[in-house]
Structures are given as C-alpha cells and as structure tokens.
C-alpha cells in the first residue's frame, strides 16, 4: 500500500518535471547531459522489484557480476608494484614476466606463484580504495565492491529512485555493508568536481544513455592519480544484436524485452579511440570480451571487438 503511494507520488513528480522541461524552463535549468534517457529510466523502474531475485529475470546480471568482479580484481591486483620500495635484491619477489607455468616444472612454478600471491596479499593489505559506482541500480556491483577488504568505501549513484530504494533496503540485510556503502539519487554531473575516487565503475551503463562521451569524460575527471575507470558495455555488431536482443530478449526471454537498444551500442574500437584522445593522462590498460551461454554462464571469449566487453582505463600518476 505504502509502496504504491510512493510510486504514484513519484509518477506525478516525474510528469511535473517533464512539464517544466517542456514549458521552456530549460533555459534556466541546464540540461543534464549525463542523465539517463527517460524511457530507459521507466524501464529500470519496473525492474526494481525483482532486482535481487537471483533466480529471476536478473539472474543473468548477477552471473555477469561474477565476471566483472574477476576482471576488476585481476586488473587491480596484477598491477600492484610488488617490489616497490624493496632495495635488498634478496627480498624482492621473483616475477618472471613470461609464461612460467607452461615452462617450469610444476613444483617450481607453484612455489613462484605462491610467493607472488603472498606478496600480492600483503600489498593488498595496504589498499584502501574509494569507489564510485555510476548507474548502480539495485546495488549488485556496489555491494560486491564494498565487501572487498581492499575497498574503503563505495558510493552508488543512480537516477531511478525506485532502484536506489531497493538497493538501500537490500543493503540492510548485511551488517558488513553499513559503514562502507552509501547510495544517492544523483546524476554524475551533479557530483562535486572535487570528489575523487580510486575506482569508478560504469557497468552496462553506456548503452542506456544518450551522450556516452560526456559521461566517460566526466567520470575520468573524478579519478585519483593511479585510479581506474571500469566500463562494461556492448559492441555494436551482429553478434551482439543476435545474442542480447534477438536471443536474450525475444527468443529465450532471459532479460525483459526493451532492455537493450541496438543503436546505443558502442564499438570497443570507438571507445578505445575516444580514450586515446586523452592519452596524456589516461590509458586503456586492459579490455576483455565476454559471452554468455545458457547453462554455462558468462565466460571470457578472447575474441576482440565482438559482443559484450569490459574495459579498464587508468589515470597516470
């Protein structure tokens, strides 16, 4: 009952703001270029109730989150300078830099890996990352980030109040998250430009907005030195159309119809070229393509410029 009331109140507000926008008041209020497209917004509003049903329509998103976390963990952990500030060569960790697992005997490569893992764990103990999750939705990624020991705090932002409501409710189920995670209904543009983060994530976001370039640029400006921006989106190609729209929405009904708009997909190459424009300060450090197969789940495909992909952009020191 109460939920219904909130819902109708919100609907009225939503129409009101639209009316304001149409009646030439936009000269005063600057149009929010990083905002989500209104029709997309209402689509996500409808998903709010089932967001955390891991067996329901969002299961595929929960599954995808596993791969995202693997990607994020790998990018951060494999780029730690393990031998930084160690002068004694005896104390330095031996990092072969070549594929030692395939060449050395198992016992030796196992020992080398053990040493690297140990040093990585120690180094991770020093990390206290501040994270911003843009387009956090119900908080699937935000919660996962917040539970990591290397993360100090996570701020999740989204433009749809209903999903933020869901995220806030779900957060209460885990006492671990209480001090580490916060949510806010706000657009990226309205975040204070002085707020800087070590990790910014924009997962499955660019394909739902009207001005992706603006958002990427805005997000990069909030990175701390050595910070990472993680993006995941979908290539504009036949394979993506076939898997995400034709099979995913219409044939197998894995995700609700209307989740994706083909025209908004961005090619991996285009995104990389865009970042390369700012290569004085930012660099694409890793990019991986992934695919989904029913019963198997998500996996990295290793085929570039095809289907879904993730990208890590690092700000230079």
């Amino acid at each position: 009952m109460i939920r219904r009331q909130i819902y109708t109140t919100h609907k009225r507000l939503f129409h009101f703001s639209l009316k304001c926008f149409n009646s030439q008041t936009h000269a005063i209020a600057k149009p929010d270029l990083t905002a989500i497209n209104p029709s997309e917004k209402s689509h996500f509003k409808n998903l709010a109730a089932t967001w955390w049903d891991e067996t329901g329509s969002q299961r595929i998103l929960h599954k995808m989150n596993l791969l995202r976390m693997d990607f994020i963990n790998d990018v951060i952990k494999s780029r730690l300078s393990l031998n930084e500030a160690i002068t004694d060569p005896e104390q330095k960790v031996f990092i072969p830099g070549w594929n030692f697992q395939n060449i050395l005997p198992e016992e030796v490569s196992h020992e080398i890996q053990k040493e690297i893992d140990q040093a990585t764990r120690e180094k991770c103990g020093d990390l206290q990352l501040k994270c911003l999750d843009i387009g956090c939705g119900g908080g699937i990624l935000s919660e996962s980030l917040a539970r990591l020991s290397i993360v100090e705090s996570v701020k999740g932002i989204d433009m749809t109040p209903e999903v933020i409501q869901v995220a806030k409710l779900h957060k209460k189920l885990d006492p671990l998250l209480e001090d580490k995670l916060s949510y806010k209904v706000i657009s990226l543009e309205h975040i204070d430009e002085k707020e800087k983060y070590d990790v910014i994530t924009m997962m499955e976001l660019l394909e739902h907005v009207d001005y992706p370039a603006m958002i990427v640029k805005e997000a990069l400006s909030h990175l701390n030195p050595d910070g990472y921006l993680f993006i995941s989106t979908i290539n504009r190609d036949f394979v993506s159309w076939f898997t995400t729209i034709f099979m995913g929405e219409h044939v197998l009904n894995i995700v609700p119809v209307g989740t994706h708009t083909y025209g908004k997909y961005i090619k991996q190459r285009e995104l990389k070229e865009f970042v390369d424009e700012f290569q004085k300060d930012y660099r694409v450090v890793d990019s991986k393509n992934c695919g989904y197969f029913p019963t198997v789940g998500w996996f990295f495909t290793g085929i570039e410029n095809m289907g879904n992909y993730m990208m890590a952009i690092k700000r230079k020191e």
Binding site: E54, D117, E143, L145, L173, D174
Partner: protein, 466 residues
C-alpha cells in the same frame, strides 16, 4: 521492573554473532573448520564449531595417550584424502604407528569364487576415525595459537536445541543447550546422516535402507608368515565381508549382513565369532547357511563344526590357492564388536539460503567401496573453494547464489559414486544363477583387462580430482 526484565530477555535473544557456524565435530566438521582457518582468504572469519560429545577432552586424551588396541571405528581413506590433510597441515599430527597403507585389494565372489585383484602403490590407507579427528583437532589448536585474536571457537558438550531464522535478515539463529544463541551468516551442517541442519532447511533426502547392518571389530590374524597388507572383500549373497589391514597383523572388519543374522553374530561369544568369521571368508554359501543355523540354535557346537569344515577345506588347498584367501583370524579385541545400519541417501540439494550440507549430512553410502569419508573430504575441498571464490568476488558467501557452485560440482560426482556402489551391492546380492554366472564372467573378463582396471583403481582412489 517487569518491563526491564522483559527488555533484558529481548536483548538476550541473540548472544553471539558469527560468520560461520559448523554443526558436528566428526571428521567432516573438524576438516571443514581446519580448512576455513587454513585458507588465506577465509581465515579471518569468525567461526564456531558445535559438538554434542565431550570431544576436546577425548581427542586430547587420544593424542597424549592413545588406547593400546586400535579402535573399531576405522575408515579406508584414499590418497586424495591424505593429500588434502597434508595440504591442511593436519597429516603431521596423525599417529603413524596406528595407520596402515595397503597396495592390494582382492575381491572374490562368495558363490563362484570369481575374483578381481586391484593393485596400485598406496591404493588406500586404513586409519581410525579418532586418529583423523585428533590430528585435525591438534591442527586447529595450532591454527588458534597462530591467530590468537580470532580463534575458532570449539563448543563441545553442547547440543543444538533449535534453529530459527532472524525475521529481518533471514540469517539462521542457532540455539544451544548451554543457553547461547548464535546468529550466523552461514550454517554448515556436518551433522551426519540424520542431519538436524538438513531438516531445518527442509531439504529432502532420498534413498533406501539396505535392510543390512554393518558389523565392525578389531581382530588379529594368526601369525603364519608375512603377507603384504591387503584389503579383502568377499561378496556373499548376504552382503560383503571386508577385512582391512592394520599394522602388525591386526585387521578391521566390516561385515554387512541382514538384521536377523546381525542379531546372531552379535550374540556369539568372541571365540565363536572368530570361528564363523573364518568360515565366512572361505566356505561355500551352503555350508555357511548351515553354520548360521547352528550359531542360532546351538552356538556351543559352532566352533567344532567350523574347525572340522575348515580343516577339510584347507587340506584340499595348494599353496597357490591358499594365497587367494585371507589368513585365519585368531583374536578379537574384547568389546570391539559393534554394528550400525547401512543406508543409501542423497539430499536433493546441498545448499539453501545461508545453509550448506557436507559429508554424511548430504549423502550416505554402503561402506563396501570405502568411499564415505572420502566423498565428504572432496565436498569440503569444493565448498572451501566456493567460499573463497565468492569472498574474492565480494559476494555474500552465505547466499544460495554464492553457494550454488558447490552443489553443482559435488552433486553429480557424488551421485555417480552412490549409484555405482549401490549397483555393486545389488549385483552381488543376487542369487539368481544366470545373473551370478554373468557377473562372474564379467569379473573374470574385467580382471584380465589391465587398462580398464587401472581406470577403476583411479576412480576409487581419486587419483585425479575433476
């Protein structure tokens, strides 16, 4: 005053909050605890183990001053299990003088004497349950001294009196007989075949009782020269009789028999029991049926009857043929005879929201292939790996979603093993002549196909983990 008291009880409702609660201090529960506390990724979790028996004292006693004779609760463990215990750094606490490696298993048919031999270096190891538990307990004490601020809490002499769920978060709340209540993110049931945790989760366990009892005991072979340690198994129509080697000519038996025969065997004197056991490892089924009748009606005549028949049988054996039977037993440790019911069961699911089942709580099997404890160890390896991955990915590792990979890895593997063991049991229980002939032919053929046999050996000793 009244309101204050009411408030006090309301606050007292949950006295502790834990990350993981393990119910059961058997080999599975202790391994689970040691594995969590040994893992770099999980060791900082707050972990509590609840056990109803006087576990800590009895395991410490075993460690300081073990009983003179080997205890009757023994298991056969595979090299994979030994390897796992080594990884957990618990194997160094095992008392090596009380375990026996063996390289040979000889199985033979009670009706046709068709036999199949398996050999492989360190095919399996016989060990007392207490030896496993004690080593794990010592390892846990060692881990606790390494992490004094976040020790594994061992609550023995404590029963679980009830389990409920928190109304807000849905986390399980475990009520204990000492008055404590623990709210936990993950509840792991290592609480055996009749698992209260499984019942709380409402997970159905399917299967059937074999209408069979397993009789166990610790015995000694007559000293008639050296033989390599060998596991013997005779498939009698009443159920398999397994004789498994322990150090210094000692042996442990698991004799599966129908309930009425179990009653007879349990009621015999130690001497008579030894006689009928020797008979059962050599004589024909017709003779055995006759001897069982004597054991029931005139037990005092049993020994003479068996001795005479065995003498006739043995006189016909050549030295080569003698090798095909286990040695004669001539001593049993008094009061070491025990029995337990055998059943096959498999839970429909091993996981639910904030619940995981491990070992016998998830599946029980016939002991004829010596797989029960080993399946539990493989469960633990898989569950720990699942928890590690979930934690690295920032998942709430108590959710069913995070625990699912454990179930999807272990269920099919366990199902196959349970099925195979069940089929072996069924095939060998048959007395229908064409079937008996077919199985003996099959066994004789199999015994001469080394490649296929190696494959079977690899499977039962878990040489390669999937």
């Amino acid at each position: 005053m009244l309101s204050r008291r009411f408030f006090a009880t309301a606050v007292k409702e949950v006295t502790h909050v834990s990350d993981v609660v393990i119910v059961g201090g058997g080999p599975a529960g202790l391994t689970m605890a040691a594995a969590i506390k040994s893992s770099h990724i999980l060791k900082d979790l707050q972990c509590t183990l609840v056990e109803s028996s006087d576990m800590c004292r009895s395991l410490q006693d075993y460690c300081d001053d073990p009983p003179e004779r080997i205890l009757n609760r023994c298991v056969s463990i595979t090299p994979a299990t030994v390897e796992h215990m080594k990884q957990l750094a618990a194997w160094k606490f095992v008392r090596p003088d009380r375990i026996q490696n063996y390289d040979y298993i000889r199985t033979y048919d009670g009706l046709t004497n068709a036999s199949m031999d398996f050999d492989s270096p360190n095919l399996a190891t016989m060990i007392e349950n207490s030896n496993i538990q004690s080593s794990l307990y010592q390892r846990i004490l060692e881990l606790n001294s390494e992490q004094p601020l976040n020790q594994l809490v061992l609550k023995d002499n404590t029963k679980v009196t009830g389990i409920t769920r928190d109304s807000k978060t849905n986390w399980p709340i475990v009520k204990l007989s000492n008055g404590d209540t623990i709210k936990t993110r993950l509840l792991i049931g290592c609480d055996g075949g009749r698992s209260p945790v499984r019942k709380f989760a409402g997970i159905e366990s399917r299967g059937w009782a074999y209408n069979t009892w397993g009789i166990v005991g610790t015995l000694k072979y007559k000293n008639t020269g050296f033989r390599s340690p060998t596991g013997w198994q005779r498939f009698l129509p009443t159920g398999p009789l397994a004789q498994l080697p322990l150090p210094d000519s000692w042996l442990s038996i698991v004799w599966s028999v129908p309930p009425e025969l179990a009653m007879i065997l349990m009621s015999l004197s130690d001497k008579s029991f030894i006689s009928i056991l020797n008979a059962a490892s050599r004589l024909s089924q017709d003779e055995l049926n006759y001897l069982y009748k004597i054991a029931r009606d005139e037990p005092e005549k049993l020994q003479d009857e068996v001795n005479w028949r065995l003498q006739v049988f043995n006189n016909k054996l050549t030295a080569d043929q003698e090798e095909k039977y286990p040695l004669e037993v001539d001593y049993i440790v008094p009061k070491s005879r025990g029995r337990f019911p055998l059943k096959l069961s498999h839970a429909d699911d091993y996981v639910d929201e904030r619940i995981a089942l491990v070992g016998d709580a998830a599946h029980t099997t016939h002991p004829l292939a010596g797989q029960g404890l080993n399946m539990g160890q493989a469960d633990i390896q898989s569950l720990v790996k699942t928890l590690e991955t979930a934690r690295e990915r920032g998942l709430d590792y108590g959710t069913k979603f995070a625990l699912e990979p454990y179930f999807s890895t272990r269920y099919p593997a366990n199902h196959v093993m349970l099925g195979v063991v069940d089929k072996i049991h069924k095939i060998y229980s048959a007395k229908f002549p064409p079937l008996v002939w077919a199985r003996s032919l099959g066994v004789n053929v199999l015994n001469n196909l080394p490649l296929l046999k190696d494959l079977i050996v690899g499977q039962v000793s878990h040489r390669k983990m999937p």
